[in-house]
Structures are given as C-alpha cells and as structure tokens.
C-alpha cells in the first residue's frame, strides 16, 4: 500500500476534460517528480464534482481545498506553493460570489450546502477507473449482502418499501417493476440499463457513468438476482466516449475480481453485463424502441401491452431502469428502505439529480432531496441568474416537459407537484430562462427537436409535430392569426392521446405549458407583431433615435453588414433592408441612442 500525505483530485468529467484536465494531470505529475514530491502527493483522476461552470476543478485533500478555473499555467504555482510549502494559492480557491472569504473546504461552498448526494455519492470522490476505491466506499457490499443474506423476494420487498421511483422520466415504482418481472415465467430474463439520455441539456446519467460506473454495475447484478436474470445490457449512446470507456474498464475489473461472472461470492448466482452502443436517437430512449435497437433492428417503438416485464428483449421478460435509478439501489439495500424513506416528500422519496443549464451562474450537476424548491435550486445552489437579470421560467423534462413560471418558483420539486402545474420531473434537465428568453421561441426550439427525432412510425407524431412546428414558426415570423392558438391547442390535445409512444404523447407539453403561463406573449406576437423578449428577429427592428445620436460612428464601424451610415457628428440611420438584427450596434452605442 502506498501512503501519501495528500491526494489531488482532478476532475476528468466531460466538461473539465474538454478544458484540458488530462493535460493538467500530466503536467502536475511531471512537476511533482521534479520537486521530489511524487511519493508524497498522489494525483487522482475523478468524475464530475458538479461545478462545471468553473472547471477545470482540482480538489486537494486532506484540506478539502477546491481550486477552480485551473489553467495549465497555474499548475507550477500550485505544486511549488501548496504542495511544497503548504501555502494555498488563494487566487484560485473557490469562493461564493457574495463572499469575500475563501472557502477553506469544499463543504462550505454554497453550491454544496443544500445538496445531498446519494446517486452522486462517489462522483468526484473516487477514481472511477479503480474498483478498489469503489470497494473502499462500501462498493459491492450491497450485492454481497443480497446474495448471502437475502432472498430475491426480500430484495424486491426492500426496494418496494423504499418507494424508489424511476428517474428516467415516468417515475414508475421500481419495486413494482421488478416484482412484475420476477413473477413472469421464463427460462431467460434480461436486465437493461437505459443510458441513452437524449434530452437536450441533460448530462446526469453521463456524469454518473463517468464518475461512478461500478454503482450501476452493482445495481444491475442486484436486479438480476431479484428477478432471476443472468444477463444485463447497458444501452449507451456512442456520443459518450468517456462514459463508454470507463464502463468497459469497470466491467473488466469487476469480472477480474469475480464480482461479475460465474458464482459471484461463491453462490450459485451468475451475472454478466454487456454494452450496446446507440447512435444517439432520442426515440431509442423509449423502452420498446431501445430493446428493438439492442436486438439490432431499427429503433422504433411498439404498442404496450405486452409490457417488457412480460415480453421484452428477444421476447423475454425484461426490466429496464435508468442509470440514476440504479445508482440509488446499492445505498437502499445497504442502509435500508427505512433510511431512504426519511428523505424527500410523501410520495417522492430520496433525491433527484439535475443538470442545471441555461441562464444560471453555477451551470452544473446538483443532487437535492425531493421537495427542495425551485427557488433553492436556482438562487442558493445555482448562484442566481447572471448579470442581475430577472428569472422568467425554468424548463424541466426537456422536450417532453413543461415550464415553471417565475410566480411558481416556490414549488417543491417532486413528481406530483410538477405534474400538477403542467411541467414534469423528466430525467433531470433543468434549463433556466431569464427575461431575454422568448417563450414562443422556446416552444419552437423543442418542437424542432421532436420533429427531427420523431421516428415516423405513427402519423400523429410524424405529421402532427410538423404542423405544430409550422404554426409556431408562423407566429414567430409575425404571420400568426388568433385562430392559430385554437388550432395549436386542438393539435396538442389530439397528438397527446393519439401518438404511439411517449415521444409523440409528450411532444405537445412545451406548447401547452407555455400557452398556459405565457399566453399573453403568444398574443403579443400574433396581435401586435411584437416579441417582448426581443428574440424573434422578424418582429424586430433596430432604430437610431436621431435626437440622442451624437454621430460618433461607433455603430457604423461595428455593424458586420455595413447597414449603418451617416455623416460624422450627425444622426446615423440603419438601412432596414440590410440589417440582420444582430444587436451589436445597440450593445456598443455609448449614448444608448439605439432602440429595439
């Protein structure tokens, strides 16, 4: 065993990797060796810490000091000052926006204070490519407990008692799903993991797989034992190369240790897991399409019933759970359902991971107890909206979900509260919007996505989403009519009930919820041909106020298409036929003489 006095954890999640964290590791190891510190200070590559907005992230233990925005050029200073002489490099230490003091430990940061990490418990704590570190954090102990001290029925009962609900979007009780599959008769059964994560802006599942792949493998083996299956498949998109690579390493290590394979822990239970790479189609996240895709066919959904628990992969009883759902399982079995049910609200137990994105300071990954309010997530954990702008709405559930308007910011985040206000939990994408976002444009954005991603098998979805998108396009171009709103509502309600699968059935949600809370904004576009947020370019024009223009010429110089002309020291004008409405002139005018 090696004993170091300090461990330096460097985030190698997708975000930090693209801002050069692997090079930071190389450079740090080189500099440690040059200073004779290589036997004292160990560099550890980890998964995501969550504070992606401030990456690359480096955390030094035992102090627990978090360095943010670390550049390659900072490494020398960190090594020579902190590691050699014990002097913390203050300018790089994470602090809260509103606090002049540096946070002496990662635990004191506002970003982490309200969080509770169950699914993300090991992310940023361990090296995901080292099974020993997972084992040190009680890894595979839950599997051992199940195999040696519990019957399959007891495992299912414990999961049912925990009231864990699926984190992939629909929120179906996991215990009940397992129980159905256990009751299905069949010589062969399958356990599948949904790591397709097609919701734009979501990166929860990816981060769990990158930061703690073994927790998912362990949970799948537990599920296999519970339902009587010996084979698992993880369906993951090929666009997640780091997650795929770490899963491959994890599976190989687990097999080497005998934690996957034949006769696990000397019992007669055997379980194996294989990866199946998807091509990144949203519809392949839908359970029946996913299974068809694993079978090697074109990913198209089919009607249910029969449900996969009866007839799934290759016609055999199958369970499919989401990555985050699985990540909760080992903890539930180790600490007990009674512990798990103390967390969360009456009908939504445990925590939920959210990928915070959009107009928010702390873009990143957060895990909070169910029932935390949107306000706490946005203002306290998320650090508020950049540039002092006003919060307008948040979109949960991505293209299948809805928006939560500012007046409902105190809504507790759980399955039922969100459904009640026309939004949904979804898989955990949480996109924050401020006063500069146009809600019609947002609805159009999501519809564009569903039009692209519709598989085309059923006409309500194939044709219906296209028609809805056309109407939204018309409205944002200033050609909308009042009757369009009725037409939209009519289409929405029809597609909701007539589409074959969840993709089509939920595609109208972004329209329905924006219509519900922001109808006035639609009417402004239709009646007054105005986009109040100033996003829809066709409804916009930039005008120079002649009495305020001093004729400095800055706007004319900045205009990328040469649409502004005028004599020096006299009022300039914008040629509307040339203007592309980029807004540069307005942002550069020192006299605020340009209006929109």
């Amino acid at each position: 065993m090696d004993m170091y006095r300090a461990h330096v954890l460097v985030c190698c999640g997708t975000g930090c990797t693209s801002s050069k964290s692997p090079q930071i590791i190389d450079s740090m190891e080189k500099l440690l060796a040059e200073n004779g510190l290589e036997t004292e200070v160990k560099v550890v590559k980890t998964g995501c810490f969550g504070l992606c907005a401030r990456g690359p992230i480096v955390v030094v233990y035992p102090e627990g000091i978090m360095y943010t925005h670390v550049d390659l050029s900072d490494v020398k200073e960190i090594v020579e000052e902190h590691f050699l002489k014990g002097r913390v490099v203050k300018r790089l230490v994470a602090s809260d926006e509103d606090s002049a003091e540096i946070a002496h430990s990662i635990q004191n940061l506002g970003f982490f204070k309200k969080q509770m990490r169950i699914a993300l418990r090991n992310c940023g704590m361990i090296n995901p490519e080292n099974i020993d570190e997972y084992i040190a954090h009680d890894g595979y102990a839950a599997l051992g407990k199940c195999l040696t001290a519990m019957t399959p029925q007891e495992v299912i009962d414990e999961v049912s008692k925990s009231q864990l609900r699926g984190r992939g979007g629909a929120g179906f009780p996991t215990g009940r799903k397992w129980s159905f599959a256990a009751q299905s008769k069949g010589d062969i059964k399958y356990v599948c993991c949904n790591a397709d994560e097609g919701d734009p802006g979501a990166f929860m599942d990816r981060s769990i797989l990158e930061g703690d792949p073994h927790s998912v493998l362990e949970a799948m083996a537990i599920a296999g034992y519970a339902i009587g299956s010996n084979q698992g498949y993880i369906y993951i998109r090929a666009e997640y190369p780091i997650a795929v690579e770490r899963l491959r390493i994890a599976i190989a290590q687990a097999k080497e240790y005998g934690l996957l394979g034949n006769n696990i822990f000397g019992t007669d239970f055997s379980f194996d897991i294989e990866l199946r790479l998807g091509a990144g189609a949203f519809v392949c996240g839908e359970e029946t399409a996913l299974m068809v895709s694993i079978e090697g066919n074109r990913g198209e959904p089919r009607t249910r019933p029969p449900f996969p628990a009866v007839k799934g992969l290759w016609g055999k009883p199958t369970i499919l759970n989401n990555v985050e759902t699985y990540a909760n399982i080992p903890m539930i079995l180790l600490k007990g359902a009674d512990w798990f049910t103390t967390i969360g609200t009456e009908k939504s137990k445990g925590t939920k991971v959210f990928a915070l994105g959009g107009k928010i300071n702390n873009t990143g990954l957060v895990e909070v107890p169910m029932g935390t309010t949107l306000r706490e997530i946005i203002e306290e954990i998320g650090g508020g909206i950049p540039h002092g702008k006003k919060f307008k709405a948040a979109q949960t559930g991505g293209p299948s979900g809805g928006c939560i308007p500012a007046e409902l910011i105190d809504t507790p985040i759980d399955y039922d509260s969100l459904t009640a206000i026309g939004a949904m939990m979804g898989s955990g994408g949480l996109i924050v919007m401020d006063e500069d976002n146009c809600m019609v444009d947002i609805a159009k954005f999501f519809l564009e996505f569903t039009v692209d991603e519709s598989c085309g098998k059923c006409s309500p979805c194939r044709i219906g989403t296209k028609r809805m998108h056309e109407i939204l396009e018309k409205i944002t171009k200033g050609q909308g009519e009042l009757s369009d709103i009725d037409k939209l509502e009519d289409l929405c309600n029809t597609i909701k009930i007539a589409a074959l699968c969840g993709l089509g059935q939920t595609a109208p949600n972004p329209i329905l919820s924006t219509l519900r809370y922001f109808k006035q904004e639609y009417l402004e576009h239709i009646v007054n041909k105005r986009c109040p947020a100033g996003v829809c370019k066709d409804l916009l024009s930039y005008i120079i106020m002649p009495d305020q223009c001093k004729g400095c010429g800055i706007c004319a110089k900045q205009c990328p298409v040469g649409a502004i002309s005028g004599e020096k020291k006299s009022a300039h004008v914008i040629d509307q036929s040339k203007c592309i409405k980029c807004g540069v002139c307005m942002s550069k005018c020192p006299f605020k003489a340009i209006k929109r």
């Binding site: 065993m1 035992p62 002489k85 014990g86 635990q107 084992i135 040190a136 051992g144 000397g266």
Partner: protein
Amino acid sequence: MKSLSELQELKEKTLQEINLRMQNGGTKIVVCMGTCGIAAGARETMRAIVAELKNKNVNYASVLLSGCDGNCEEEPVVKVIEPTGEETVYVHVDTEGGKRIVNEHVIAHKVVDGMTR
C-alpha cells in the same frame, strides 16, 4: 473474490489509503514548511512522520503543511491539532522527534516530553 470477508479486507486496506479524502476530522499534524523550515530539515521530518503513520497503520491522522509562522529559529516546527481543537506545538523536531510525536502523542495521546516550547 469468493467471499464477503475478502471484500471487507480489500475495503479496509484501500480505506486506509484514501481515508484522507473523507474529511472525518481526525488528528492533524501540521508541519511548517517555510524556507526556514525546509532549511532546518522540515521535509525530512515530515517524511518520517508520514512513514511512521504508515508503519503503525494509523488512519485517523493527516499530515498538512503550512507556511512559516514567524519562529524561524525554532524550526522545524510541528503542531498537533486534536479533533477537539486542542493544539500542541513542538519545536526543533528532527526525524526521530517526528516518530516520537506519532507514537507518543498521536497513538498514545501523551504530550511528548522535552519537545514543546
């Protein structure tokens, strides 16, 4: 791996290695590592402390460095901070002294004779 006890063994072994990430508030041994400390042999002292902790399988203490705190003539200076916050300052600590701090103070909970100010 064929049994739970093998898993437990591996867990404990690795835990010792990564315990210092847990921030579970064990004893802190702070070695002053200013230029003055380094010149007086603080690095060797610090290494001896880390090695002794490993020899004795101590996993509830962590070794931290700090800058000079102004008493350069007393270097190498080592402070032991108990989880309670109680602080003991040792001066002129050589490698032997470092080992004594681990054995007598950290393990046996007795202040080391003749090494305090």
